[in-house]
Amino acid sequence: MAYRVLITDDSPAMRTFVRRVIELSGFDLAACFEAGDGAEALDVLREEWVDAILTDINMPNVDGEELLRRLAEDEMLRSIPAIVISTDATESRIARLLALGARGYVTKPFRPETLRAELERTLGVPVE
């Protein structure tokens, strides 16, 4: 099964990199959408169904924490698993984001296989 993923990050370089890593990791990617902040991500989600959301935390306008809150409040969107990708590895931040509804957390810098494993774990992809 191939999956549709939304990457949300205010850094165009980071979005390109994450997309490239997903492709290189061998993850079965059907489509990849990009958003520059949480507001853009919500716009994409009104138009496109995705299987997973990868999001940064520190972004302008609607940041990652607010995006998680809005996803949790939306009956249509709350079932989409969101994985946070962040440089912040502090225990308090990770705990807060998981409490807000993040299903996974990947700390930058990360290895391609780490991101793939977290995507597959979150999506419940059977281990081969």
Partner: protein
Amino acid sequence: MFFLEALADAEPPAPGSADGLTVQLRFDGDPPGLFRLGLARAAANAIAADFLGEDAETLTAKQSQDVARELANMICGAVLSRIESRGSFRLSPPEIVTGLELPWGAAAQANAYSVETGNGTLTAAISMETQACQATEKSAF
């Protein structure tokens, strides 16, 4: 993630060195402070090319700057997490800075670390506004 090899320790570049890229960001938390990353231009281009999967010859200046900002964000976040994994920090957006007279100035000098990448020097410096974590800053690099 960044396919970068630190070949050897190096001397920080001279203050005001023009052939490079300097990124600066502030962090709020306990303690607050300032982080700077300096890259030789060739090192910045090589790192950006690896990061984006592009040819270094065709990279734009904006692409190199975007990747340098992301690298600064990543190194600063990793260093702060090592210094205080139970604390909470908020990083400002990384900015490209120019015209610094003292890029690795007095406050940060003792906590600057430079490495040779094979394409030029990479220097990271952190300066905290309290003395509480000074002893651990260097080892966190």
